[in-house]
Amino acid sequence: MRLLAILFLFLPLGAFSQKNEIFQIDSLPKEGILLDKGWKWHAGDSPDFAKADFDDSKWEGIDPTKDIFDLKNLSKNGDIFWLRLPLFLSQSISKESLIMTIKQSGASEIFLDGKLVQQIGVIDKDKTQIKAISPGREPFSLRLLPNQLHILAVRYAFQPNIKYGTHFANTNSVLRVKINSLKSWHIEDQNQQNETNWNIVVAVIFATLCVLYFAFYLFFPSQKINLFFAIYNGLQFLPYGFSGFFTLKNVDFFYGFSNILIFTAVIASSFLLLAIYRLFEQKIGIIFWLVLILGIFSIFFSLYNYQWGWVVFGIGFNFSINLELFRIAIVSFLKNKKGAWIIASGGFIFCVSWILFLYSNTKGGEMELISNFSYALAQIAIPISVAINLGYNFAKTNISLQQKLLEVEVLSSEKQQILESQNEQLDKLVAQRTQELKASQAQLIQSEKLASLGELTAGIAHEIQNPLNFVTNFSEVSGELVDEMKEEIEKGNTTEVKEIAQDLKQNLEKINHHGKRASDIVKGMLGHSRNSTGEKELTDINAMADEYLRLSYHGLRAKDNTFISDFKTDFDENLPKIEVVSQDMGRVLLNLINNAFYATKGVKSPLVEIKTAGVENGIIVSIKDNGKGMSEETKAKIFQPFFTTKPTGEGTGLGLSLAYDIVTKGHGGTIEVESVEGEGTEFIVKLPIQTI
């Protein structure tokens, strides 16, 4: 970027006079005298060329301060040539110690009046050994006597295959010899040191920002903008870092590195632009792509097209980038984007500094400090403004976070209170609901009992009807027998009377038997409807199963006369009596049998089989049907309370659940189910002899 300035740089010429092609020095200005006139050159190599009395009148004139690209006659591939300059020093400056500084693009040996006074770099007939060195600020003493003609002869060769920069205007000088007084050299050296110091300051700023942004990115990777800024600052560090910390005297390295810097500068600027776009939420538009294309062009121009490269890069690309940044900042500022005014200020400072820098350069050495300062300011104005913007944004974010935090604290304390009161209400509600649920559960269990009672009623009615019929019929027939007996007594037919008496006795027994049978049924019914007392008594499970099978069958038959089902019993005659709560166990059997009959509805040859068997330490009762069977899904749920496959209103869904509780919890037994869909279901109740 510095290079751009040089376009506008008018190199001040020292006071000098030239007579008969002799470079005469009458006075020494502060900035010294550049030996840019009076030179002659000749291709070839001879020790004689160094001699003071050598006749070079046939040599061609040349200005070796010109760029090597402008001096096309010179061989660039390592051929040795010579330069000669006659020098004359006036008496007026004879008292001053003279210092010579040399900037060059090749290697040289400097002879004064035939004597070798300085060797800079290596000149060799073997071209591969040639080493180009530019000493830059390094001072060489020059012993010139006043009022005497001196001959400065320079043996010179270019190091082959150096890719000289094309972006420097007038920088690839063949040879720039400058003569200064020691005093003014010190001043100039100080100025150059200042420039180096500025470079170091700028380099440190870029390096710090690079680390800072990278750290931001590293710990918060979703903010890609910080990575862009880190890349920009890291790449920007390179030119300032190297020119600040290193003195690049090796010409090949200097140009090689300069060419790389062109490339990195284009990348850096593009990232800066991207970052700014992102910062102000601007879309990447045509301008960005145009500027980027310009950047790519400028790389090629810089490498291959002398004098145009730096124009395209410097004015075209670099200035466009800064203008675009300024434009975005202004647009964003007008849109009230947060912090845009900071970047806009940076852009403004850049423009002002740049103009100041260009102006100060036209004034030459007297404004050297301002020049250096304004140049550095122009370079760091935008990165610094971006950094300030970052700080500004962080501050804004922190302030808003703090506010949010306060709001959250207030909210959470409010919420805490609400939560507490809600919890209290919830606790009350839960307690209330639990109470209600308990009540309704008790009610439901009662309903289930009543429902099973309802199922029983029809069965009981039938069962009770039969013995009552017998009571009626036998008492009726007994009355007839008594009449008959009377007749036979009158006839004196004792045998017949005895026979009738025998029948009568038998009938009375039957009446008694069937009366008791009816009474038992009524007792059983009452027992079923009463709440369980929980008392266990020795019970014949065969008799119980038989009784409930009949009750169930007749109950279902009474409810639905189209219902027909066969049933079989296979009772183990040696089944031991076991202790059970008979009402409870009766309810279990009734439920299982009812379910079995229900399942056979609609199947061909419906059959329910009840089997009992003694097993080790217990008995099993199996209730098996050839009904519809159950799916695995249904099977998994059947013991859950309120699960039913019956149509709404027909089942409470509590039957099996209660049965399960009665068998397992009430009697320490197990109840298992085996079922195949379409084939049937078998419930197996296992009860221990000593129930719990």
Binding site: N473, V477, K510, H514, H554, N561, D566
Partner: protein, 123 residues
């Protein structure tokens, strides 16, 4: 007259024997008993070609009275036996079903033996 009474209640047998005491003694009627539909079919098979009046309960474990009736009708034995059905469920539907299947008469429990006698001797 030969009558086969089919009922799972065994006591019904004594009742019939006592109620028809005179008739049995006079040789007017002869009773046989079966305690299930299956036994009834065995008896009928053994007494093929005899004129038998069948008096059957409907609700019995195993083969029900209705099934027995269906079997008898399907066998179509000659002479065709007279079948009278007895049930505790005296509803019209059961009655109509029995009659439509070919039952000759339908009686309700508890049995009115006077009525039964009349109906038997009408046959």
């Amino acid at each position: 007259m030969k009558v086969l009474v089919v009922d799972d209640e065994v006591d019904i047998q004594d009742l019939f024997l006592q109620k028809f005491r005179k008739e049995i003694r006079n040789g007017e009627i002869e009773f046989s008993f079966a305690t299930s539909g299956e036994n009834a079919l065995v008896y009928l098979h053994e007494h093929e070609s005899e004129a038998i009046l069948i008096l059957s309960d409907i609700n019995m474990p195993g083969m029900s009275g209705i099934e027995l009736l269906r079997e008898i009708v399907e066998k179509n034995t000659k002479p065709k036996p007279i079948v009278m059905m007895i049930t505790a469920y005296g509803d019209d539907e059961t009655r109509n079903k029995a009659l439509s299947l070919g039952a000759d008469d339908f009686l309700n429990k508890p049995l009115d033996f006077g009525d039964l006698k009349e109906r038997l001797f009408k046959r």
